[in-house]
């Protein structure tokens, strides 16, 4: 297979290998999770098979099937809200006999297909409302459904993916940033407590983007409305309503759930130092101080046992996956393939970043697993499917 992207394949295999070893270590303590690494190994076989199948079909098949797949995944997202299994206060799972899966993962891929298909047809004309507006809806419907589960961590990958694909489809960065300005507006208001930071940023943005008068006026009105209403709305809410919103944005905001996990994660990573305590020798992990150590917080076990060097190797491998991925987008044969690759890689990158920043204490605890490393069968299969899609494009990049 001369056209397989070997660095991408090897980096993925390396990550899965490290994942298996770490799951083995994290579950080596006597307890309920002992021996889970064997199940993860079995899932690996399935995941490789799935990736192989996905790489074998021509990606134009996904172009053709994009809308039906998207429809099915939306139905699944509605179904999960109705009949899903509640775990840790959120409905994210559908149970099929012994199997459980998260429809949000499938929706991510299907949404990528539809967005890629749409942008592929619309890319030359992003000035016009009927070309730039529909993608917003395509991404926001699954986002809203996933956020309602609630799973904001996963849900946010939809808008993030969308922004990257707008960019790849040819939307000028200035205009893209201007379009995002209401988001910055809200975020800056909550971080700084005044609107003046945003006003400064907005002026700079205008100077950079130099929009047409109509766009300028629309954005000015939009941001004006946000800036005027936001403090009003917020101050109008009662304490318990504010608390509810805070809980929605940051589901585990309470200090004695997630706060405990974060502190234990930081202690585990920090005590690992540069060289680590050695494989299988982590004490925090062994004493069960680190909750969810084989799933969401697996990177903390890497940090504790393998130290900064081990954690660095993992980051480098992820770097290879992501950078090779984006490079593939540039060499892809056609518009659909390039857009699809950008969507897939961005979603993957966002998940990786959110999880890693969470374990070092710089992002909220949102229940997002670490791709390829965390224990969990369906997540592994889906992540390998994503790699399979990338390889699919790689295999056909010289096709004429």
């Amino acid at each position: 297979m001369p056209y397989l992207d070997w660095p991408l394949a090897l980096a993925t295999l390396g990550l899965i290998g490290i994942g298996l070893l770490t799951v083995y270590s994290a579950t080596s303590v006597p307890g309920a999770h002992q021996g889970l690494w064997m199940r993860q190994l079995a899932w690996c076989a399935i995941a490789f098979g799935a990736a192989w199948v996905v790489a074998a079909f021509h990606y134009r098949l996904f172009d053709t099937l994009a809308w039906p797949l998207y429809g099915v995944s939306l139905l699944l997202l509605v179904a999960v809200l109705a009949i899903g299994t509640t775990k840790l206060g959120a409905k994210r799972w559908i149970e099929l006999g012994p199997l459980q899966f998260q429809p949000s993962e499938i929706a991510k891929i299907a949404t990528t297909f539809v967005l890629a298909r749409f942008f592929d047809h619309a890319r030359l004309n992003l000035d016009r409302v009927r070309f730039w507006l529909p993608p917003l809806f395509i991404a926001m419907v699954p986002f809203a459904l996933v956020a309602k589960e609630p799973d904001l961590g996963t849900g946010l990958s939809f808008p993030v993916m969308l922004v990257a694909m707008y960019f790849w489809a040819g939307m000028p960065p200035g205009r893209l940033l201007l379009g995002l300005s209401p988001v910055f507006n809200v975020a800056l208001f909550f971080v700084t407590g005044t609107i003046w930071w945003f006003v400064g940023l907005f002026v700079a943005l205008l100077a950079f983007a130099r929009p047409r008068l109509s766009l300028l006026l629309v954005m000015l009105a939009l941001n004006g409305a946000v800036a005027y209403e936001l403090p009003h709305l917020w101050n109008h809410l009662h304490d318990y309503q504010k608390r509810r919103i805070e809980t929605f944005i940051n589901p585990d905001n309470d200090p004695y759930g997630a706060g405990y996990q974060i502190i234990q994660s930081k202690i585990a990573i920090g005590s690992g130092g540069v060289m680590g305590k050695g494989y299988l020798k982590g004490s925090q992990k062994a004493l069960a101080f680190l909750p969810m150590r084989h799933t969401d917080f697996i990177y903390s076990v890497v940090g504790e046992e393998l130290g900064f060097l081990g954690a660095l190797i993992v980051v480098l491998l992820y770097g290879v996956v992501i950078v090779r991925g984006y490079r593939l987008a540039a060499v892809a044969r056609d518009g659909f393939a390039g857009l699809m690759v950008v969507g897939v890689v961005t979603a993957l990158f966002f998940t990786i970043l959110v999880n890693m920043l969470m374990t070092v204490g710089w992002a909220p605890v949102t229940g997002v697993p670490l791709p390829f490393l965390s224990y969990g069968g369906t997540a592994l299969v889906v992540n390998c499917l994503q790699i399979g899609l990338l390889q699919n494009v790689a295999l056909r990049r010289r096709e004429y």
């Binding site: 005590s271 130290g307 900064f308 710089w362």
Partner: protein
Amino acid sequence: MLAGLALAGFVLVLLGLLRLQVVQHDELQRLAEQNRIRLDVLRAPRGAIRDRLGRLLADNQPSFDVVFRPMPAESITRARTVVRSDWIQRVAALVEDDTLGVRRRVAEANRTGQTAVLRRNAPYAVMAAVEEMRPDLPGIDVAVAPIRRYPEGTMAAQLLGYAGEINDQELDQRQAAGYRMGDLIGKTGVERKYEEVLRGQDGAEFVVVNAMGKRVSTLREGPPRLPVAGHDVTLTLDLDVQRAMDQAMAGIERGGAVAIDPRDGSILAMVSKPAFDPNEFSRGISFARWQELSAAGGNPLLNRAIQSAYPPGSTFKVVTMLTGLRYGVVRPESHEPVACSGGYVFGGRRFACWDKRGHGSIDLLTALQFSCDVYFYQLGLAVGLDHLQSTARALGLGERTGIDLPAETRGLVPDDAYYDRHFKSGHWPRGVLLNLGIGQGELLASPLQLALMAAVVGNGGHPIRPHVVRSIQGVPEYHVDKPLEPGVETDPGIWDAVHEAMRRVVEAGTATSVRLPGLAVAGKTGTAQNPHGKDHALFICYAPADHPTIAIAMVAENSGHGGSVCAPLVAQVLRRVFMGDTLSAAPHGARPDSLAADTTGADVD
């Protein structure tokens, strides 16, 4: 460009790693070795509940709990060798729980680092035993936490509801809202409906502990988060009215009653019998006691005032009368074609009047005054189903009233669609109308709906929204929602006729036991046929008759005629409310059967 952004993200991760693993390494290393960190929850006090004059109905008191505190790391290993293998059994025996429950709570505590409550509100003997055995049982400790106190005991118990420890199912559903094992949560009544307002927010602090689990200092990183107290809630309830009604109904085994202000829908009192003591629940209740309460003894947890639906019986004749007048079918002085001879023949079947002797040929006002069935059979037939059911709904029957309490019943007012479902479509017998006209048949209404009906009739058809919360501390613009029932807008003359007829029921009709000196009362008695046993007694009224400030509905299950059972009890309530009478004759209420003998006037339906 995208790849560049991605690299920037990864650099951020590396910076995070460097901060922890190089800059803060020594400090975190030390914490890891001694570990260490325990999380102490600072409990937020739950908001108090008061009556409309600020008299306390629910607040908090300290409870002494037996708890398990997760142990510091190195002492777990040490403890494994020291602790005797029968730790679980001994702890379970101490807190009088099974080993499975203790094991589960301890495991959860170890997983989350939180303290687990093993026995809430432990009695003194258990506390003493814990103190004695503590050196032998590492991890076991005594902690103080607030629990709920209901100073009035069984008074308005179903309306207030109770707050108890969160169960697994609730925890699963509400974890996202920040609930934790061991939290208090409102289970029923106001405690449940206003849970979000009452709850407040627990605080927490991370403390560094030594090998024995003793607190050494608070953690520098992550300053304590202070608890935020819940909001106090003031009810529309008037403890005086509530107490009067409670005592009047002391002899009723099963039943419900509601007093409402016809001017604004404020609930003044709500009684459901049998009652329970919510304090039992906040102390923690045994499974056997729970079963005893929920199954046997007539299910005291059920709020009969809003959750049980009864046939309204003759109280519904007020609706039939109003329907006839408002749609021009009858006039106050109208006589029906067939005079009452103790019964009425329709479709080859004889429908009896409650008074076998018959009422003769009477007008509408007199028919209501003496509750003549034969008159209302014919009126029911004449007004028809559509008009009858729409008037009933306009007065708040057949739909939820929208009261701010959980699990309200809709009751039942049958309409065309209902009968089409139950009979062959379009072929239901007109005989059902006879029964509806006198409030029998499929009709069902809760005491709350009956009180609302009496109130809306009393205030001249203005819709009101029944509600129990008057204000919430810290919520200045709290307001009551709009009424759900449309009310009845019609000619004032029609209202005068209805009001006059209900006045006569009390003055010289079926409810003369409610005749009070100096207070004009308008009312209507009722008896609901009960296929499962003795009839239910009902009474509705409002007073003072010209400008009502209170409307009452009372239902006593399986106790006979409304005029003989409920009316005298309602009279006691009114005497107490309007005349400050202290029920000297019967401090714990009067038995209905003894009262029946005293009743002057007709002891009839």
